[in-house]
Amino acid sequence: MATTPEELLRDLDKQYLEKYGFHDPEQYVYKAPKGLSRQVVEEISWIKQEPEWMRQFRLRALEVFFNKPMPTWGADLSDIDFNNIHYYVRPTEKQGRSWEDLPEYIKRTFDRLGIPEAERKFLAGVGAQYESEVVYHSIREDLARKGVIFVDTDTAVREYPDLVRQYFGTVVPPADNKFAALNSAVWSGGSFIYVPEGVKVEIPLQAYFRINAQNMGQFERTLIIVEPGAYVHYVEGCTAPVYSTDSLHSAVVEIIVKPGGRCRYTTIQNWSYNVYNLVTKRAVAYEDAVMEWVDCNIGSKVTMKYPSVYLLGKGARGEVLSLAFAGRGRHQDAGAKMIHAAPYTSSVITSKSVSKDGGRTTYRGLVKVYPGCVGVKSNVRCDALLLDEESRSDTYPFMEIEEQDVVIQHEATVSKVGEEQLFYLMSRGIPEAEAIAMVVNGFVEPIVKELPMEYAVEMNRLIQLEMEGSVG
């Protein structure tokens, strides 16, 4: 039975290890040496044979990265050693259109993670990124015929240069923050999605991100353009092996939702406990557009991520459903930002966090309403559940409201798993551990029920796995 913190952590790692935490031997075609320099950036751009504008974009971003100080207002990032990271790893020479095209060991890994099976059952398209490159990509033919584009972002730069250049870096400029700058300098992979006017993609598109190597940095870059009246649901998942040294995942996601369009972006983040997950996700929503982030953070060592929606057109709506689960040694610093820059825009933020075994969750959010944006409605609700005395939860809900004619609601609760609830459940014969899990699952249910059924099942299973760690 695990008793000390170290043993508990090892137990958790063991469970993760069996399912996701395994690693493959490295048989890569290229692996950049550790550390970040102008030369590394030039090399990435050269290997990708990029146009000059992208090379320049990277180099400018690198300068911004070097010049920006580390952010100190949030989670503790002082242990990140930028010199001890591989910024680019190319696992294979070409991308597969079928899983059979992949090197056997990579195919086996994705098999083990259940991706091809999920694709057959309930997805309209799949991208699979392994280290720095997207090694597999597919989209259903009927969608492709309707003009839907779903490729990796490197391919998009080559095949749809005008589209990419028009939007790339416009929603999240490199200077936005230090890690957006880092991503802009060394980005590789990620998804590019274009949904033409009026086209509704009813079945989700999914990308899966896998880190395999030790001291790896993964910097995917995703760009989604939803034309007027169109709809898409994009789902991403991620895992990595368990190592004793840290890896870094720093993505940038930019989304443009044009008038009357709708985009839903669902994340199930399950990195191993040695991954720093520092991600910038932002969408702009024009008139009557809807942008929804469903952001579930279960794994990683430290996560800092605040999906945001810039509501730029009258009647636009933004929603963030945020779920954070922090076990021992982990800090989930998550939240949301809603920027109301047009009248009659509305937003809803629902955050649910669970901390256990000394884990730490932070809700950090911003609701901003610019002057003149009348008729704005915003509702923020954050609930935190603490499973024991040593865990911690903080809430930083910022509100900058510069208009009178608005309705803003904020509600926050912190609760412990109630003795009374446990007694009630246990009086019906349910063992303590399962009773606690039941209360936790019930607590997160409002978010989990928003996931597609297959992911909801997976999410409940992940939480179950996390809960088992405490039984020892």
């Binding site: 019906r428 399962e434 039941m438 699952n441 019930g442």
Partner: protein
């Protein structure tokens, strides 16, 4: 134990809760079809509609719904011994009859019932085998169903008087 004021567990549906409880008690999983059949049977017995079991456990339940939910659990989980703690309080006549009917259906040599009540109303429908009167945490008088009827007519005062005179004697 049927609670007088059962606590709400948000996000946990009645049906999921019952299934897990039954699984825990039996020590083995209960096949979905079999469980559904059992649940449907008991729901009919208690006259609860289908939507009820998909609601979150005790969340937003009225007093009557909470009590009925307690009895539904009793019917599904089938314990060896059941304590009904003032389950009849706050129920209207029809609900009392439904609860009583459920108890009558379940009663038998394999299950014991302890019904704690302030009213004899439920006893119009459930015929107890033994009646105990509790004063200050102690059983001061026991008898058959006739004792309950006597209490209903004469009140508790005479029992208390008797206890006091015994103490003095």
């Amino acid at each position: 134990m049927a609670f007088q004021y059962p606590v709400a567990v948000p996000g946990v549906s009645v049906v999921n809760f019952l299934r897990l409880a039954l699984k825990s008690l039996r020590g083995t999983d209960v096949p979905v079809v079999q469980f559904r059949k059992l649940l449907r049977e008991k729901m009919q017995l208690l006259k609860v509609d289908d939507a009820f079991v998909n609601r979150y456990l005790n969340e937003g339940f009225s007093g009557g719904e909470k009590k009925r939910n307690e009895i539904l659990q009793l019917a599904v989980l089938q314990p060896e011994f059941a304590i009904l703690d003032e389950t009849d309080s706050g129920l209207d006549i029809d609900a009392v009859r439904i609860v009583a009917n459920a108890v009558n259906t379940m009663r038998g040599p394999d299950i014991g019932f302890l019904i704690i009540t302030h009213y004899s109303r439920i006893l119009n429908y459930v015929e107890p085998d033994v009646v105990h009167v509790l004063v200050d945490g102690r059983i001061v008088r026991s008898g058959g169903p006739e004792l309950a009827h006597e209490l209903e007519q004469r009140g508790y005062d005479w029992v208390v008087q008797e206890v006091l005179s015994q103490k003095e004697g």
